[in-house]
């Protein structure tokens, strides 16, 4: 017995070993996560001038970008997108996962695959596909588009319609994998719980809303917060819409992040671009901290 306990005392890993295991990750975390973020924060307070190099301008860059005439419209655009997309994700994913789980079987798993597959079409390909789907000349949904009075692709993407279009792209590309996640969480609910509720006279609808939903609500919170962070920093989709249509749909500075992009790569004003990045980062950070607070993420049973 004594030898065993002696050995057990020795088993506590050498203080150095865990660091060796995390070292490569730490290098990448610093090089591509922490340092770029810190660097962005620093240069957001500087302005590069041809006469005297980098000059400290305090909050000058922040004031400049917040007063940029393109800023407010882009905030409205992103807000419109989020207001459309987040509830669609929340309601759509919950509804479909609960409906699928109400009666597992062949039909349910076939439907699950169908919802999941469009997730393969994302990024550039998703923008391409949905530009086809929204073009009244070629779209299989032409009936609906014409009913809304659209005769060209530009009509379907003009003004606030672009927010709707991007919300549809993001929904079809993203809903499926979250449905799979939520369905997985639903199947992990102990069957005794569900049977007990059924024996007590729960209807399938009551079962879904009062028993299943509360038990998977954490996954939904997680989904909404991750989606918020992604949607808030929207850049690729409007950028691609602009590029692919050769500017005939003018969405070059449609989102907040695109304005940062334009400052950096069109005007070479890195300070102003970094100021926008920092603002986006701060909002995302608050959301991230909120998640940590809400979900007790880093607790480990050791």
């Amino acid at each position: 017995m004594t030898t065993v306990s002696k050995r057990q005392r020795r088993k506590a890993p050498l203080p150095l070993t865990p660091y060796i295991f995390v070292a490569p990750y730490l290098v990448f975390l610093l090089a591509f996560g922490v340092l770029p973020a810190a660097y962005a924060l620093i240069i957001s307070f500087f302005k590069t001038t041809s006469a005297s190099g980098d000059v400290f301008v305090g909050l000058g860059n922040y004031i400049r970008v917040l007063n940029d005439y393109r800023m407010w419209p882009s905030v409205v655009n992103v807000a419109t997108f989020l207001v459309l997309w987040l509830p669609a994700m929340l309601i759509g994913v919950t509804l479909l996962a609960l409906l699928l789980h109400a009666r597992p079987g062949r039909f349910s798993s076939a439907m699950r695959l169908i919802y999941y597959l469009p997730g393969a079409v994302s990024g550039a390909a998703a923008v391409l596909l949905w530009l086809f789907m929204l073009d009244p000349n070629v779209s299989p949904f032409a009936v609906f588009l014409k009913a809304r009075g659209f005769t060209t692709l530009s009509d379907a993407l003009s003004g606030p319609n672009l927010a709707v279009a991007i919300a549809i792209m993001a929904f079809t590309a993203g809903a499926g994998s979250w449905i799979v996640v939520l369905y997985g969480a639903l199947t992990s609910i102990p069957s005794e719980v569900l049977e007990a509720a059924t024996v007590d006279g729960c209807t399938p609808v009551q079962l879904a809303l009062n028993i299943k939903l509360p038990m998977v609500s954490r996954n939904l919170v997680f989904m909404i917060i991750l989606s918020f962070a992604g949607g808030f920093q929207l850049l690729i989709e409007p950028q691609l819409v602009n590029q692919i249509t050769q500017g005939s749909v003018n969405s070059k500075t449609w989102s907040i992040n695109q304005i940062a992009y334009s400052y950096a790569f069109d005007l070479s004003n890195f300070g102003a671009a970094a100021a926008i990045s920092t603002c986006l980062l701060l909002v995302s950070l608050m959301v991230a901290l909120w998640i940590i607070y809400k979900t007790d993420f880093y607790r480990v049973d050791s």
Partner: protein, 303 residues
Amino acid sequence: MRHIVKRTPYSRFFPAITTGNLVRIGLLLSFAFFFLVPLLWFLAAPTKTDAQLTFGQAISFGSWQRLEQTWTNLLSYNNGQILVWARNSAVYVLSGLFLSLAVCIPAGYALAISNFPGRRMILILTLITMILPSSATVLPLFLGMNSLKLLNTMIGVILPSGFFPFGVYLSFIYFATSVPRDLLNAARIEGCNEFQVFQYMALPLAAPTAALVAFFSFVGNWNNFYTPYVLLTNDNLYNLPVGLAALISSSGALNGSAAGSALPINRPEVALAGLLVVLPIALVFLFSQRYLQTGLLAGAEKG
């Protein structure tokens, strides 16, 4: 008792035709229609001519000859540049896969099994950086790569893909919840040192989480648009998504201006290029659906 059992949602019997069931099936099918129609259209588009796309039945098969013609037209773009992009994509994805596995699995393991100073900090930073999309850090990345003279190089695109906090998170969750601590202790009692414990006990057990990390790394890097878009100006180094955007915008295929362009790149060719981008992911999705569901579940439990 028996009738109660039959009414549970787990009954495999054919559903009774009730209003509730009809509503359920109706809703599920209409969403399936919404998700499936674009995919079917996408698959059929390269088999048709541009005119057929406009005037024909929206969802219909053209002909195999036409598909061949579309493929030939697509290859004529910059002497088959699409194949260069496909090769680049393969290089980026495989290197990214290797890098992220080599980095994520040991890190997740150490974070899960030992409590060392700084661990909590690393976990918090992991969660934060996981939530920050790459766009927030891309400008400093661009400047950093510029000062290291790595702009317009493959290495410059590959290196950032080794930073994959979500993979560390997945690996961490797996080792924290699914690998019995007693098993590792047993190996230590047998005289294994920490590296041997990792190599002979943890690593063989890590197959499920490695597959999951590989899946997400593959999907993420295959679809990666932003990093190559910002870091590359040489179009021979593009990956497929960035190449696709360049192909579409330079041919004007979606702008109705293709008529004025000498390129034989029209909507069917563009759709075929899009399908090339999607196909590998779709195949991975098809084969991994059942497996992923159980794997994601392990991650979702804690989330």
